[in-house]
């Protein structure tokens, strides 16, 4: 078995081949140019796709890197959304300031869950249930806070969509598209940066074997908490985007369990713990869903639930047949990532 050369290893985190970089460049260019040719429907689909990919990337930090299963990530989306929205609706403060409050609130919630969960040694499935419980508690709670609109929803004043106001996040679909595109790319960069530093390696060690990690001097509690905080804050930014893009927030929707599960779909399909996995997963799942909807429309059938049914089926299929996701084996097969006899997850993009 041939081993990787030491040069290859030293570039851990940049496991793309030359061809891989070219493909990435083309893909990026295409994404940048899309608004020039696409209609607003297509743009909105892409925006939603990228939004889920971004959230998946944020979730991936906690699960894929640090191994902590959260099925209540909608909590952070909602907290980010409501924080920024409330500041805007009640005090006229714009999203670029509101996002900081959103991240803070989400991080505090994550800290609460993390501290409670980790101090009390709540692990695995139980930890997942804990995250669900917190999200549900918040969902019901927010339905009763009238200052935030209660169950009836919080509405942001919608202005015209012709002029672009980046400062106030009001504008054309194309503007929103570029914002989420930049966010997604920023998330990719952040994750790649984290993975290449000590925190990234420590997370993976914790994910693999917590006790063994401790024996090597890793303060497991601190690093797990860091993963939760970073993941929560990142997710909250996605929530702020959501608030200003859709302009209405309903607790039932935004804090829902099904939203939490939608967030992880992309990541599972693409590959938990990989760098490009969540984004790739988004580009698989959303077109699939759109294709299905379109075909059903053509056939004149309107069945609510068909798309989600297929999504569920894909989830089941992936978990059974490709638990590491589609992206790793596909990328290797297509020669996009560095081929090695035994691929290393940490350097796998």
């Amino acid at each position: 078995m041939s081993a990787l050369s030491s040069d290859a290893l030293s570039q851990a985190g940049a496991g793309l081949t030359a061809r891989g970089w070219r493909v990435f460049g083309v893909w990026l260019a295409a994404l940048l140019l899309v608004p020039t040719v696409a209609d607003s429907y297509f743009l909105s689909v892409l925006t939603t796709l990228l939004w889920f990919a971004y959230l998946g990337q944020a979730w991936n930090v906690m699960m894929g890197f640090a191994g902590q299963l959260s099925l209540g990530h909608s909590l952070y989306v909602g907290l980010g959304a409501y924080s920024a929205a409330a500041l805007f609706v009640h005090f006229g403060i714009g999203p670029w300031a509101g996002v900081w409050l959103g991240m803070l609130v989400a991080a505090l919630a994550g800290a609460a869950i993390g501290v409670l969960g980790f101090r009390f040694r709540v692990r695995g499935v139980y930890f997942a249930l804990l995250t669900i419980a917190f999200a549900e508690l918040t969902r019901i709670g927010f339905s009763h806070i009238s200052w935030l609109g209660g169950a009836g929803g919080l509405f942001l004043p919608v202005s015209q969509r012709v002029n672009n106001d980046l400062a106030g996040l009001r504008g054309t679909p194309a503007m929103f598209y570029y914002v989420i595109l930049v966010l997604t790319l920023a998330a990719l960069l952040l994750c790649r940066w984290l993975l290449g530093r000590r925190i990234g390696y420590y997370w993976q060690a914790i994910r693999e074997d917590q006790e063994a990690a401790q024996a090597l001097g890793i303060d497991v509690f601190r690093y797990k908490l860091a993963a939760v905080l970073i993941s929560a804050a990142m997710t909250a930014v996605g929530g702020v985007f959501y608030a200003f893009f859709y302009n209405n927030l309903f607790p039932e929707q935004i804090f829902s369990l099904s939203r939490s599960i939608e967030i992880i779909l992309d990541v599972l399909i693409g590959g938990i713990g990989t760098l490009f996995g969540p984004v790739f997963g988004g580009f698989v799942l959303t077109p699939l869903g759109e294709l299905l909807t379109w075909s059903l429309d053509r056939a004149g059938i309107n069945i609510p639930g068909a798309k989600q049914f297929v999504y569920g089926g894909v989830l089941v299929a992936i978990v059974i047949f490709l638990p590491d996701g589609i992206w790793p084996p596909l990328a290797r097969r297509l020669g996009l990532t560095r081929a090695s006899s035994d691929p290393v997850r940490s350097s796998e993009p």
Binding site: L71, V125, Q308, G312, V316, I320
Partner: protein, 289 residues
């Protein structure tokens, strides 16, 4: 706000809680033996509900009479699910099984949405508006019958696990999987049987639930979460714990619904879940691992 809760409210909470408890029993049995947390629990219960509803519509069957039929079908379904899908994941990290079942749940709930639509359906029985009066208590007949049936089924299950050979074999398997294999027990078969029993139990609970609640697909995730809360509070793997947990949740939701806003009653349950997860994860009656 008056703090005197009418005894009828408490009694109704007890009766409802017993039915919830039966459902949670199915969940608990599956976890205790197969060590899988069944994320599709609520979906199976709602399948049972739709089974009862269909049989009531097309065959005029009372849900109590429909229960055995629904149980048989769901037993087969649960058996197939375990054998066909979940079995493939033995040995993988447990959160993968959890996620698998979340996917199955997604498929089931949307299948029901596709077949039956999102609106609620009620199953009307002849005695739907009758009630028993015991002194100060006014109890709906439907709830009393449902609760009685739940206790009967729970009792039957308890006897099965403690008296029959098959039941004891399954319990042996739960206590010590490796030992069971060493002794020659066909563990996958036992797992499939257990999943079948658990699903059937959840299905029966669903039938009983139609007597009290209208059926709609999106009830499923709520029932799943409720099942988790009951089972964790009462103790995973403990049969009496599941019933006790059901009672506890049933009564507390009745209280909360009466004293606070009805829409807030679940908050108390989730708060309780968080407390138990932190302080006593084995539940009130569960064994400490």
């Amino acid at each position: 706000m008056s703090f005197s809760v009418p005894p009828s409210v408490i009694a109704t909470g007890v009766l409802t809680g017993l039915v919830y408890g039966l459902g949670a029993l199915g969940l608990s049995v599956i976890f205790g033996v197969v060590r899988v947390v069944n994320f599709a629990h609520g979906e199976i219960m709602v399948l049972g509900m739709y089974g009862a509803a269909l049989l009531a519509q097309h065959a005029g069957l009372d849900p109590l009479a429909a229960a055995p039929l629904v149980a048989a079908v769901l037993f087969a379904g649960g058996w197939a699910l375990q054998r066909g899908l979940i079995n493939k994941l033995i040995g993988r990290p447990e959160h993968m099984q959890f996620i698998l079942l979340a996917g199955v749940a997604m498929m089931l709930v949307n299948l029901m949405l596709m077949l039956f639509g999102p609106e609620a359906q009620a199953v009307q029985v002849a005695y739907a508006f009758d009630s028993f009066e015991l002194g100060p208590l006014v109890l709906d007949k439907v709830r009393v019958y449902a609760a009685l049936a739940a206790v009967l089924v729970a009792g039957g299950l308890s006897l099965f696990f403690s008296r029959t050979r098959l039941g004891k074999t399954i319990r042996a398997c739960a206590d010590n999987q490796l030992g069971a294999r060493v002794v020659g027990l066909d563990v996958p078969r036992l797992y499939a049987l257990t999943f079948g029993i658990g699903s059937a139990t959840a299905g029966i609970a669903g039938c009983l639930l139609t007597l009290m609640v209208d059926v709609r697909p999106l009830l499923a995730p709520e029932l799943t979460l409720l099942g988790f809360i009951i089972v964790i509070v009462g103790g995973l793997g403990s049969l009496t714990g599941a019933l006790l947990g059901g009672l506890l949740i049933g009564v507390s939701e009745a209280f909360a619904g009466f004293l606070l806003l009805p829409s807030m009653k679940s908050m108390f349950s989730y708060g309780l879940l968080i407390l138990i997860l932190l302080l006593r994860p084995q539940g009130l009656l569960g064994k400490s691992s």
